[in-house]
């Protein structure tokens, strides 16, 4: 009898093309997502060697990072960004890769459009030159970010040299309380294990609280696996997964669908599996979370207080925390609740899907955002934008005084002109609060769409539960 295997091992075994020790496993890639920032040097590499793209039919490109979120009728004002977007479209034409370009009605954040189009399926290997590729793990796919050298390898050969990671089970049981969301689950996990806590591992999320999440919520959790140091994080597929996928443009149909579901149902980790590492979290004890510092592991319950470096034993850790508080201009021991905010950003591959927009709209409906506050609502894709408009969510945002924009990464990475001014504070639904991440000198509090919307109304860091 075969020893028990994890879902990751099953996917791995099904994708191993060659195993020539001491070389790493040559792993086949089922879906390669490409965007404008991490691909131009890879295409240049192909050109220099006279190579073609091996499987354009397993590759898809879109433009998101450098892409303005101003109306599409306007040109890209930044000439460097414009060149990069044009270069992606030109590379895709030259190498025969389908591209949802700047003017496409399927354009969007690469990790939003894969699932939305039904391209991301259970049991797949998915890669992209972007660390948030872990998002696609929500479907029970092994999905991880790669560098540009590896983008070139996959374009040329559809394969990667990879070593197996350790298996880390993250079990979340219990029922979330009102006002607490998937974002708070993942922020709490990262706050517990730290930003490097999952290095060398793949997270497998399990437990009743994870099973109760919708696909979009699961994507939020898996998205930030990398913020816990894990290159990938995944959730075994179940009926929630199949219901989401059924009927999507690229998902299998008819008899193919039935056969696929039958195959997928064998993916979950076998009973009796012993993980390399484990952690458990009780969802019923969670509060809305918010970060105070300069990495996503520096998170506290929204009602909590800023930690004191003096309480930290390790000298380097102490200095790292002290440096973060200097950058954020926060005092140890003080609460974050009530801290003034200049900008609220609702968007990013973490929280820009229709359910995120609906939950922000629920809070903003019939209310006005605080005067002098800038609020950006950036849908993850053109399709989400249209759906939100069909539901009237755009009216709720605009009536509240928020700015309703075109799809892209926007202020999550601040490459496209959407950014904080030096010294400004944001409450942001994105995934990183690194120094300068949202603009040089900008200061980021990461939180859920609910917390972001609540803070937009008051103009200060707010516990959404006081408004529900």
């Amino acid at each position: 009898m075969q020893p028990p295997r994890t879902i990751v091992e099953k996917i791995w075994d099904a994708h191993a093309v060659a195993d020539d020790a001491p070389a790493p496993t040559l792993l086949y890639v089922d879906l390669h997502l490409v965007h404008e920032v991490t691909s131009p040097q890879a295409f240049a590499g192909l050109r220099a060697r006279g190579l073609r793209v091996r499987r354009p039919d397993l590759t898809i490109a879109t433009t998101d990072h450098s892409t303005p979120t101003t109306p599409r009728s306007l040109p890209i004002l930044d000439p460097v960004a414009a060149t990069q977007v044009e270069q992606l479209e030109a590379n895709c034409r030259e190498f025969g890769i389908p591209c949802y370009g700047f003017q496409s009605d399927r354009q969007g954040i690469v990790h939003v459009i894969g699932p939305e189009q039904g391209l991301t399926l259970p049991g797949m290997t998915v890669v992209c030159g972007d660390s948030h590729t872990s998002t696609h793990g929500a479907f029970g796919a092994l999905a991880f970010g790669i560098g540009t050298s590896q983008v070139e390898h996959v374009l040329a050969t559809q394969c990667l040299l990879q070593r197996k990671s350790k298996a880390f089970e993250v079990r979340v049981d219990g029922q979330l309380r009102p006002g607490v969301s998937a974002k708070d689950i993942i922020l709490a996990i990262i706050a517990r294990i730290g930003i490097g806590g999952g290095t060398g591992c793949v997270f497998e999320y399990a437990g009743s609280a994870i099973r109760a999440l919708s696909m979009e919520e699961r994507m939020t959790v898996c998205n930030m696996s990398i913020e816990g140091g894990a290159r990938a994080g995944l959730i075994a597929p179940d009926d929630t997964t199949y219901q989401y996928l059924c009927g999507r443009p690229f998902a299998p149909r008819g008899a193919d669908w039935d056969a696929a579901v039958e195959r997928w149902s064998r993916l979950p980790t076998d009973d009796g599996m012993v993980y390399d590492r484990r952690m458990t979290l009780d969802a019923s004890e969670l509060e809305p979370m918010i970060t105070f510092g300069n990495n996503p592991g520096m998170g506290i319950p929204v009602t909590g207080t800023v930690p004191d470096p003096a309480q930290v034993a390790d000298a380097l850790e102490r200095e790292t925390l002290a440096k973060a508080l200097r950058y954020m201009d926060l005092e140890p021991g003080k609460p974050l609740l009530g801290h003034p905010v200049n900008v609220v950003f609702i968007g990013s591959c973490t929280n820009s899907r229709i359910s995120d927009l609906r939950s922000a709209a629920r809070v903003l409906q019939g209310r006005r955002v605080s005067p002098d506050l800038r609020v950006l609502v950036v849908p993850g894709s053109q399709q989400i934008k249209r759906q939100a408009e069909a539901e009237g969510l755009d009216r709720i945002f605009k009536d509240a005084g928020a700015d309703w924009r075109e799809a892209g990464c926007s202020m999550c990475i601040a490459m496209n002109g959407d950014q904080l001014a030096p010294g400004e504070y944001s409450v942001s639904t994105s995934n990183r609060n690194f120094e300068g991440r949202q603009g040089k000198g900008g200061r980021t509090f990461l939180a859920s769409p609910l917390t972001a919307a609540a803070s937009a109304i008051t103009g200060v860091v707010t516990d959404v539960r006081s408004l529900l």
């Binding site: 060659a18 354009p56 040329a156 050969t157 140091g229 790292t320 990183r432 040089k440």
Partner: protein, 203 residues
């Protein structure tokens, strides 16, 4: 003859944990379509003020950093984004190795593909190095990938792990893509057994 011989260098200490790739190379410099020119933008927001003038207190702007090939950083170096621009910037600046107690997974892979050695030092050795370089800024280490040793300023040698295949590629100058391309037959055989699960051209 090794393509990556052992070398000696002084150290630039950056004693901060979790230095992320947004610090190593801020995202706004990622709009380039080239690999070159990033060395000048390395640690840009720590290195330069709002007017673009070097901040004298930042270590890379001090005479001691000139010609130094080894960065000594805090734990979990290179976390965050997968941008290979981070090792491109470090290498173009002149670094050939980074010493830390741990590195983020994607950074490790990206670094090794650019002949930048991520040296994982045991915590005691790391602390000793920080102390040595604080005491004497001319303290020198030797990094030997063939022997997998980090020789401390006092002459003691400490072993460090490195992926067997990555080490082989460094020492022999193996081109990884060339190596994968040699497996074309195995790849074609795999594709014969297992057609792709989606067809992106069929939308």
């Amino acid at each position: 003859m090794s393509r990556f011989p052992a070398f000696e260098s002084r150290l630039v200490p950056l004693a901060i944990d979790n230095i992320d790739t947004d610090q190593i190379i801020p995202a706004r410099f990622l709009k380039t379509i080239s690999k070159t020119g990033l060395g000048d933008q390395l640690f840009y927001d720590w290195r330069y003020d709002a007017a673009g003038n070097p901040k004298p207190e930042f270590i890379l702007n001090q005479p001691r950093a000139r010609g130094v090939q080894v960065l000594l950083a805090g734990d979990n170096f290179g976390c965050g984004s997968s941008r290979e621009h981070a090792p491109w910037a470090l290498v173009e600046y002149g670094f050939r190795a980074v010493i830390s107690t741990s590195f983020a997974d994607i950074f490790t892979q990206n670094a090794l593909k650019n002949s930048l050695v991520p040296v994982v030092a045991p915590p005691e050795a790391h602390a000793a190095l920080l102390e040595a370089v604080t005491r004497d800024e001319t303290a020198t280490v030797r990094i030997d990938v063939a022997r997998q040793t980090l020789t401390m300023p006092d002459g003691a040698a400490v072993g460090f792990p490195i992926d067997t295949f990555a080490r082989h590629c460094l020492l022999e100058g193996v081109d990884e893509l060339g190596y994968i391309l040699q497996h074309a037959e195995a790849i074609a055989a795999y594709e014969g057994r297992r057609p792709g699960p989606v067809n992106t051209l069929g939308g």
